[in-house]
């Protein structure tokens, strides 16, 4: 490496380091304020907590208490895990059926799934809530089929794209050996879909975990998810919002995502690229 190139790399490195600090600053600010007494946040948000303003984990205790954060967290976890499992299993099955059974009907169904990807949520929001409430889908478990319905467009699309590239000789061999379609699918096809299954699972998990409007409209403030809990925490009686507790809530909402990200970074980035390229 010549000296000019080294200098260029050095400058780039310093610039990237600076930019990283800029990128992390908003999160740093929230963490900083989550340790300050609630009366010292609005007035001097940039100041480091000192002897007078430092309150330890008091905000965290209040934040958890005032928003039922733990039940909200568990609800979000159940909904996300349940919906992602349902989506991966049922949309991969649907995609295999669409690819292997060539008929006008499966073609129409496929294009309907594709079409749903471009429809904004506001278009169906009102009528969907009313249909789903009538069918009793406005509960923590009931929302799982709702997510299956909304998630199916993109997921069926990703799975069909992958299945089209699979050789069907292996499936045929299994079926000639006497395997029924169900056994063939789960013992032969499904294992081969693993890369797409991971992509589908990650893209849907990111969306469902963070989703706000759908659970807010369908589950209301009784069965609130994390996003809903955070949104309604700011709507307390005017002026009585505990900003300290609120900062702690934000930090607690970010922590699981960051942990998940650091452990599954490789899959998340691959999933996002695959989803974008095909979507």
């Amino acid at each position: 490496m010549n000296s000019r190139k080294r200098l260029n790399h050095g400058i780039s490195f310093v610039f990237l380091l600076f930019l990283s600090v800029v990128f992390l600053f908003p999160i740093y600010l929230v963490v900083l304020n989550s340790f300050k007494s609630k009366f010292n946040i609005v007035g001097s948000p940039f100041k480091f907590p000192n002897e007078d303003t430092f309150v330890g984990f008091e905000n965290y205790i209040n934040g958890i208490r005032m928003s039922d954060l733990i039940p909200s967290f568990l609800r979000t976890l159940i909904i996300t895990v349940g919906s992602v499992l349902a989506i991966v299993i049922f949309t991969s099955m649907a995609a295999w059926f669409i690819v292997r059974v060539k008929s006008k009907f499966t073609k129409v169904v496929y294009y309907l799934f594709l079409f749903s990807m471009i429809v904004p949520f506001q278009m169906i929001m009102f009528s969907m809530v009313s249909v789903c409430s009538k069918l009793g889908l406005n509960s923590v478990l009931g929302i799982i089929p709702v997510y299956l319905g909304f998630g199916s467009g993109m997921s069926v699309f990703l799975f069909t794209g992958f299945i089209r590239g699979l050789p069907h000789e292996i499936e045929e061999a299994a079926m000639i050996d006497g395997c029924g379609p169900l056994r063939t699918f789960f013992t032969v096809v499904f294992p081969m879909l693993k890369p797409t299954s991971i992509t589908v699972a990650i893209l849907n998990a990111m969306w469902i975990w963070n989703d706000f409007l759908l659970p807010y409209l369908l589950l209301g403030t009784q069965n609130k998810t994390l996003s809903v809990a955070i949104q309604i925490a700011t709507q307390g009686a005017y002026g009585s919002i505990d900003w300290g507790g609120f900062m702690a809530m934000l930090v607690l909402a970010i922590i699981p995502i960051v942990i998940f990200y650091l452990f599954c970074q490789k899959y998340i980035i691959k999933g996002v690229i695959d989803g974008a390229v095909k979507g």
Binding site: F23, F46, V131, G149, L250
Partner: protein
């Protein structure tokens, strides 16, 4: 084989299809119908023709304002996000020390939910404006630029990752051949790299346009439309019309149909462009 699979329709296709029909297809058709009616619940709809659409574009000033605000926001965000993320992608494909860690940091905001993002930036922007005794609801332009910053913070890492994948797909022989022929750095970028990453550019443009245009959570959490609904984007304005004004549900639905048509047109143009590019390649 096809026949034996076909018999298994209720097992393979029906679960996903039934959920899809109930939560998407029926509500979608019902939504189009409701946009031509006056209603407060789905059951008491009375047909009134295109009156809701007329109201949305004439008497209701919020809708056109939201449309203009959203378009401006989308325009500025799309340009800034794509320029910055492409530049970062170029920097991070040159083998600089710590590339992996930088990529990790820049991408992370993308995983945080819109509501949380909105409140993080609400704190930051109000902290800065607080120095001057102001806050984000003081003027609509503060909300506008706040949303632009937030959107950049969230999407730069995402687009950067897609651009990096695109740049890494450029065969290194191609770049070396150009360098041997005496091409300058700028000319390699302009004549080799950029044409080769055009598919990534199309994808990123499309993703940033649709994401910016459909923005809701971040808008709700950052400004909630304040001051005086001036910073309400289309999705938030539709939401407010549905749930904030009694008797305006029909107008809300009509706005939603218009919103859908705009998004569909953008998607259609995108499909056309991608199709053409693939034919050329």
């Amino acid at each position: 084989m096809e026949k034996s699979i076909k018999k298994y329709f209720p097992v393979f296709l029906l679960p996903a299809l039934a959920a899809f029909v109930i939560v998407f297809l029926i509500p979608f058709l019902l939504g189009i119908f409701l946009s031509f009616t006056e209603f407060t619940t789905v059951d008491n709809a009375v047909f009134i023709g295109i009156k809701n659409y007329i109201t949305a574009f004439t008497r209701d000033k919020n809708f056109l304002n939201a449309l203009w605000f959203t378009t401006k926001f989308t325009f500025v965000s799309v340009i800034t996000i794509n320029v910055i993320s492409f530049a970062l992608a170029l920097l991070l494909t040159r083998g600089i020390k710590g590339t992996k860690i930088f990529r990790t940091v820049f991408f992370m905001p993308n995983l945080i939910g819109g509501i949380v993002l909105g409140y993080i930036w609400n704190l930051l922007i109000n902290a800065v404006l607080g120095v001057f005794g102001l806050d984000i609801t003081y003027d609509a332009s503060y909300g506008f630029w706040g949303l632009v910053f937030l959107m950049n913070w969230q999407l730069i890492g995402y687009m950067m990752v897609i651009y990096i994948a695109g740049i890494q797909n450029v065969p290194s022989e191609l770049i070396e051949a150009a360098q041997i022929d005496g091409a300058s750095k700028r000319s390699v970028l302009k004549n080799v790299i950029i044409p080769m990453v055009m598919p990534s550019v199309t994808i990123c443009l499309f993703l940033t346009i649709t994401n910016s245009f459909k923005l809701f959570d971040q808008n709700l959490a950052l400004t909630g439309g304040a001051p005086a609904k001036q910073t309400a984007m289309l999705a938030l304005d539709i939401y407010n019309t549905f749930y904030g004004r009694i008797g305006y549900q029909g107008v809300g639905q009509a706005k939603a149909v218009v919103f859908f048509i705009i998004v569909a047109v953008i998607a259609f143009i995108q499909l056309k462009i991608t199709g053409q590019k693939e034919e050329e390649a």
